[in-house]
Amino acid sequence: MGQQEIDARLTEIFRDIFDDDALTLRPEMTAADVPDWDSFNHINLIVATEAKFGVKFQTAEIESLKNVGHFEELIAKKLAAQGR
């Protein structure tokens, strides 16, 4: 799956969870940049991403997430490992 498609799908998920249809993702974006990105929605984000991409994050990976760009790289790596 290409970077663009990952970005498009992840944008959908962010828009759903943060209820903002105008939201666009930037690689350097963090929780500080999005209103309502609290620990509760952070879990929702992880769970929704797991469900929609068919991947699973490890405890340590979730702990070490830095920003949106890093999150997308992690998704791409997991999809590649599944040959997708």
């Binding site: 498009a8 799908r9 959908e12 998920i13 759903d16 969870i17 209820d19 620990s39 509760f40 879990i43 929702n44 769970v47 929704a48 797991e50 469900a51 929609k52 991409f53 068919g54 991947v55 699973k56 994050f57 490890q58 405890t59 979730i62 599944q82």
Partner: protein, 639 residues
Amino acid sequence: MVESRAYLWPNSRVIQLSWLPAKPQHWSERLRGIASAPDASARWAECLALSRYRIDFLETAKLDREMQRLRERGLLQPEDSRPTLRLAVLASSTVQHLLAGLRIGALRHGIELLIHEGDYGQYRQELMDTRSSLHAFHPEAVLLALDSHHLAEGGSADSSLEILRACWQQIRGLGAVVIQQTLLPVHPRLMGSNEQALADSPAAVVESVNAALRREPHITLLAIDAAAASDGIAQWHDPVLWHRAKQEVHPRVSHIYGELAGRLFGALRGRSRKCLVLDLDNTLWGGVIGDDGLEGIHLGQGTAIGEAYVAFQRYAQRLARRGVILAVCSKNDENNATEPFNRHPEMVLKSADIACFVANWQDKASNLRTIAKRLNLGLDALVFADDNPFERNLICQELPEVAVPELPDDPSFYPQIIADAGYFEALAVTEEDRERGTQYQANLAREELRAGATDLEGYLRGLQMQLIVHRFDALGIPRIAQLINKTNQFNLTTRRYTQEEVRAIAADGSFIPLQFRLLDRFGDNGTIAVLIGRRVGDAVDIDIWLMSCRVLGREVEQACLNVMAAAAHAAGAARLTGQYRPTAKNAMVRDLYRRLGFTLLSDEAGTTHWELLLDRWQPVPVIMQLQDESLAAGTATGR
């Protein structure tokens, strides 16, 4: 595009509300459009419609969020006709992520849920402290959602149960119904298959507690352990999320959790479905009876497909035995349609199992209306099972009140999908539930007698009715509570009481709580009417008067009044008073008090108040035998 390829979970299926129709393309647009609907009741109806699609946990949260916003803007005001339930959720770990699912689960069953969320892990203090916000909330039900780590680590099954029993007692003290969540089997085993050999292993404790909960009377279980057993515990619990957020139930199944609870709320409010309407061709047997003939249809031993239809019939018959009414709605010539019932040796269902049989060439929407009318049920009591997507769509559009499961292509899965849908959720089985199927049959026989009788009096005499009156007793209370919570049409005040409240009324000497049972030559109709009189000054006021519509037009209401008036008089009252409180469904009793000789006292926006002076009142003769056991208990005149 994103939608179509979603949910590719490696090596497992994502649990869905699989019996509901797929979400329409414009679901999100409709969600945004709710606010522009003309009024609160139209907005509520649209929310209800949007909840009845196969939505996932994210869409469930979106719908819930939109509804919260509408409430804040004053666009979704409560209405009297909308049943509500005040629910307190007491937990030992995070449940915030389950609340949207609970509210939407309740919505799907027509109930507006008002939630009080207890403080994290403070449930015992909140229950004990009478000044707590929990007490101030006045919950009607309390969901005790305690996690397995909390209850199964470092204790025995007995000590856990001791904690739970103490909680139940306090919850009942609040006048609320106990809903106890079963424990999720999240603990890895220490022994293996024979875990029970190590009684204090957490996995063994979970099993023992769950087994003990199932033997406990008077509590309602939310059996998430059973759901996890069928879906796989990995669907329901993820240790990563437990460590990170103390979420025992996975957010991914939060909508399923809410749906399971929503059914219980529906059952508590008497909103479970009552009747399964079955199509025939390719639903009860394979093939088309009109084309293939008796020998050509697939049914019974010999072929796998024939056995699958037998299994489905057997499931339907078991439902009937526990009180679900069966009906048939088929596009067929009636002679063809009935032939397998009468002549096919492999048919499990017999004519006697079907309370109402409709086979003709009219559209199925009209026929479902006919069935509801003939059985005296609302359309919202029906479930319509049909293999044909065209018929299903038609009913979904024409009669949105009717539940229409998405039957899969393979009949082998018909029983499971009906079970998964939970249409007939029940909290307890009363003897009368078991009898109900036959009662409806007998009712149709009575109808035939009526058609044959030339005058009403002759017909009523022919019925040889016998009405038996008792005060409320322990045996009758489950059925009485059921009637109080589900009777909509013949119901003067539509007041709803929980089983606990009914029990309290039964024990209170200032009430005259009467239950009526009707027998006739076709059988026992069971408890068919409930009246609660309440001493107020010089009067006895009728707090509740309801009757099953099955016995309409048989002078039972007059007979009930005769009994209540006599009891009130004997208790020293000078007057019998009553009210009619209008709802969307009870117009049939608007003039009941006038017809029975009461005088109108006042009319406030349709709510009317009536009185009957008792000093010179004489009972009106009725054509039935009365057996009054209400004085036997001795407390009816105890004041």
